[in-house]
């Protein structure tokens, strides 16, 4: 058990920091410090490509596919320095954290060649088509249909909560390809190009006035037969494997964004005197502790190579960060007082902290609600009886 980094790691850290700081002071100065996921999409796609050119796009991937084969320590360091430099989040996070690893694990050699280098290069932006209206957290009840027709998959149906679909190039879709099948059986996992007549995207405006999420409609949308990952009927298995990738190194980058939010809150508390309030002090200390524990939980989970046992740190990670962030949003508002409830301009647009307060209500819902997370933890982590499906 060792937490410190080696001298070589620290050199690598300096290299990351230098490069990132130079970029954020230079050509990409204009996007430094952006926190909103939907802001400046075109410039941020250019940033993805810049990362790709310099081989910083997916450093943990094999060199063959555009990565650097980076060690865990290096990945940790890059994620930390990335956020420390004020670089905005990756608009292709679905591509690099979910689609890429899925293709790496389950795709054919040809699919790897077709997709991985372009993802690593920041040229192919992915989004995810899992949830459907009427089946938010219940992935097994997918109704979007896929059928093979003349060597092409033809897809009809509707997905919802397809984050950033409006700026993406590809979508991966779980479809029901076996007529009359139910639950996790008969599902197939397809990669589809978005720019086609059969796919229509409509934004969903959220509580904070922004529209990150979308509804995506499929009307005889098409993709080639070999755009399927795995085999017909393997969709569930792949979707489940993919959920495991959600707990990768990217969590550390996300945490650094949380660090920035907490630092902004601390600055606000100092500025308006809330930092002298003993109750606020206790809550800030708790938030600080929670964030640190998130980091060390993630390091435990990433350091763990024994996959024979349930990894408690991994299993509890989603609810932990989502709950932490929701509390942070409430704390931020209590620090700001009524001033947090008014925006600067005439538009309904919110600064980091009030936006955190509003947006974090979604954190405990998407990607499996806190309720679903507790089911998983109790059933997989503690071996409690499974919640029965009904037949309504």
């Amino acid at each position: 058990m060792k937490l410190g980094f080696s001298a070589a790691d620290e050199e690598f850290r300096a290299e990351c920091a230098d490069w990132l700081n130079a970029e954020m002071a230079g050509e990409f100065k204009d996007i430094k410090g952006i926190t909103k996921l939907t802001a400046s999409p075109e410039r941020r796609k250019e940033w993805e490509q810049r990362l790709g050119e310099a081989k910083w796009g997916c450093i943990g991937w094999p060199e063959q596919w555009g990565g650097r084969n980076a060690t865990l320590a290096q990945q940790v360091i890059f994620a930390e320095e990335y956020a420390r430099a004020g670089v905005p989040g990756r608009v292709n996070h679905i591509g690099i954290e979910l689609a890429g690893p899925t293709i790496l694990a389950f795709g054919s050699e040809e699919q790897k060649r077709r997709f991985l280098p372009d993802i690593a290069a920041g040229k192919t932006i992915f989004c995810q088509g899992f949830s459907e209206p009427g089946a938010g957290s219940d992935l097994a009840s997918v109704r979007t249909k896929g059928r093979l027709e003349n060597g092409e998959w033809v897809v009809n149906g509707q997905k919802i909560w397809t984050s950033l679909a409006h700026i993406s190039d590809w979508i991966f879709v779980v479809t029901r390809t076996e007529e009359g099948s139910k639950g996790p059986k008969g599902l197939t996992f397809l990669m589809m190009e978005i720019d086609q007549p059969g796919i229509e995207i409509r934004g969903i405006k959220q509580i904070n006035g922004d529209a990150e999420f979308n509804e995506t409609f499929f009307t005889d949308a098409r993709c080639p037969e070999d755009s399927m990952i795995g085999a017909v009927g393997y969709g569930w298995k792949i979707a489940m494997g993919l959920l495991a990738f959600e707990r990768g190194v990217s969590t550390l980058g996300q945490q650094m964004a949380f660090r920035n939010e907490l630092d902004e809150l601390i600055a606000a508390a100092r500025a308006n005197g809330a930092a002298n309030n003993p109750l606020i002090r206790q809550r800030i200390a708790k938030a600080e502790i929670g964030l640190r524990l998130m980091r060390y939980g993630a390091l435990r989970m990433l350091s763990n190579t024994d996959h024979s046992k349930i990894d408690g740190a991994a299993l509890t990670y989603k609810i932990q960060w989502a709950s932490w962030r929701r509390s942070l949003g409430e704390l931020a508002m209590d620090v700001l007082g009524q001033a947090g409830e008014v925006a600067e301009g005439s538009e309904y647009e919110w600064d980091t902290l009030p936006n955190l307060f509003l947006y974090s209500r979604a954190d405990t819902i998407y990607g499996g609600t806190n309720q679903i997370q507790r089911n998983l933890i109790a059933e997989r982590g503690l071996g409690m009886p499974r919640e029965p499906r009904g037949d309504v």
Partner: protein, 356 residues
């Protein structure tokens, strides 16, 4: 000793609930939210109907002052009904705070000059309170940052901790800056007084005390109505919505969450009507009760509205669904007129004394 509504109180409640349920619809509220200028966050037609057709605006104002008599219990009943629909109305600033202040602390002339127009809804008043407002003769200087519906007001009741004045919104030295506000059903304005002329109310202490007590009780009642509505709507959704082949309301963890909300709401209900009664009866518990009601009901509403979002899943955090209206109103009620922490510290001082 009988802690249930009288028949008259039940009737007022039924009337108010029916009125708001029918008229303060989501569609109309959203139109008011989107409006700018003096109509921002106000459904004008609803306000006129409430004041003039329904005639409930005078409740809690003595008949001698042109009101309908009755007391805070009845005012709370109405505020609860309005809160249940997150109605976009200037009820808090104009009636619960300003009209109460004038009725309690204004001279007969001041009452006669202003209350009829406030009660008819023709004039909207905003309540401007800041401890640091100073008076040089009748010339007022100071500012308050979060005046509810301040951008729609023609008249301000201005109070410091010791003085109370009437100030015309268009008087020289008055600057009103409407603010983009999280709760768009009750937008704030910043009101700055730079040597503005104020007409002193006859009994400022009475005005301030009445405004604050009525304000605390009114927002607490609004919170109660909002909390109950958030629960009711979530219960309805839980019975309809099917996930994993079952109505989500059949999941025990979901049920228990709803039960926890009901437990809080029942206490908030006791708090609101205890406080209203205590004020109306001049009980020596009144001071403690209004602080308890404001802090407890606000927290209850926030808890319920937050859970309303959570328990609706994805749809719950969309703009299209009404959950965010409740959520933002709940947050606003928590922070306005003194935070929960402030109200509880008042209570702590009553029972423990000041910090040594």
């Amino acid at each position: 000793m009988e802690f249930v509504f009288t028949e008259e109180q039940q009737m007022i409640g039924e009337t108010a609930r029916a009125f708001f349920a029918e008229n303060a619809t989501s569609e109309r509220t959203r139109k008011a939210m989107a409006a700018g200028g003096p109509d921002a966050g106000i459904d004008r037609a609803l306000w006129t109907a409430f004041c003039q057709e329904l005639g409930l605006s005078g409740i809690g104002i003595p008949e001698s002052a042109g009101g309908a008599g009755l007391g805070l219990v009845e005012l709370a009943i109405i505020a609860e009904a309005a809160g249940a629909q997150v109605a976009a109305l200037p009820m808090l600033g104009s009636l619960a705070l300003s009209a109460q202040a004038i009725a309690a602390g204004g001279s007969a002339e001041q009452q006669a000059a202003h209350l009829p127009a406030l009660l008819s809804g023709e004039v909207i008043a905003g309540y401007v309170h800041d401890a640091a407002i100073t008076a040089d003769g009748t010339s007022l200087t100071g500012a308050a940052g979060f005046v509810a519906h301040g951008g729609s007001a023609q008249l301000f009741v201005v109070t410091s901790n010791t003085g109370a004045w009437l100030v015309a919104a268009d008087a020289p030295g008055v600057t009103v800056t409407p603010l983009t506000t999280m709760d768009q059903t009750r937008p704030y304005a910043r009101v700055t007084l730079d040597g503005a002329k104020g007409e002193p109310l006859a009994d400022p202490a009475a005005a301030i005390a009445a405004a604050h007590r009525a304000g605390f009780v009114a927002v607490a009642a609004e919170a109660l109505g909002g909390a109950q509505a958030a629960l009711d709507r979530t219960v309805a959704y839980a019975k309809e919505r099917v996930q994993f082949g079952r109505p989500i309301g059949s999941f025990q963890a979901y049920k228990h969450r709803l039960a926890d909300l009901m437990i809080e709401i029942e206490q908030a209900r006791s708090a609101v009507y205890w406080a209203a009664c205590a004020v109306d009866e001049g009980s020596d518990e009144a001071e403690l009760a209004v602080h308890a009601a404001k802090s407890f009901a606000a927290d209850t509403f926030f808890l319920c509205a937050g859970n309303m979002i959570q328990l609706h899943g994805g749809i719950g955090f969309t703009w299209e669904h009404d959950a965010h209206l409740y959520f933002k109103r709940a947050r606003a009620i928590q922070s306005m007129l003194g935070s929960g922490e402030w109200h509880r510290e008042r209570i702590a001082t009553m029972i423990l004394g000041e910090v040594a």
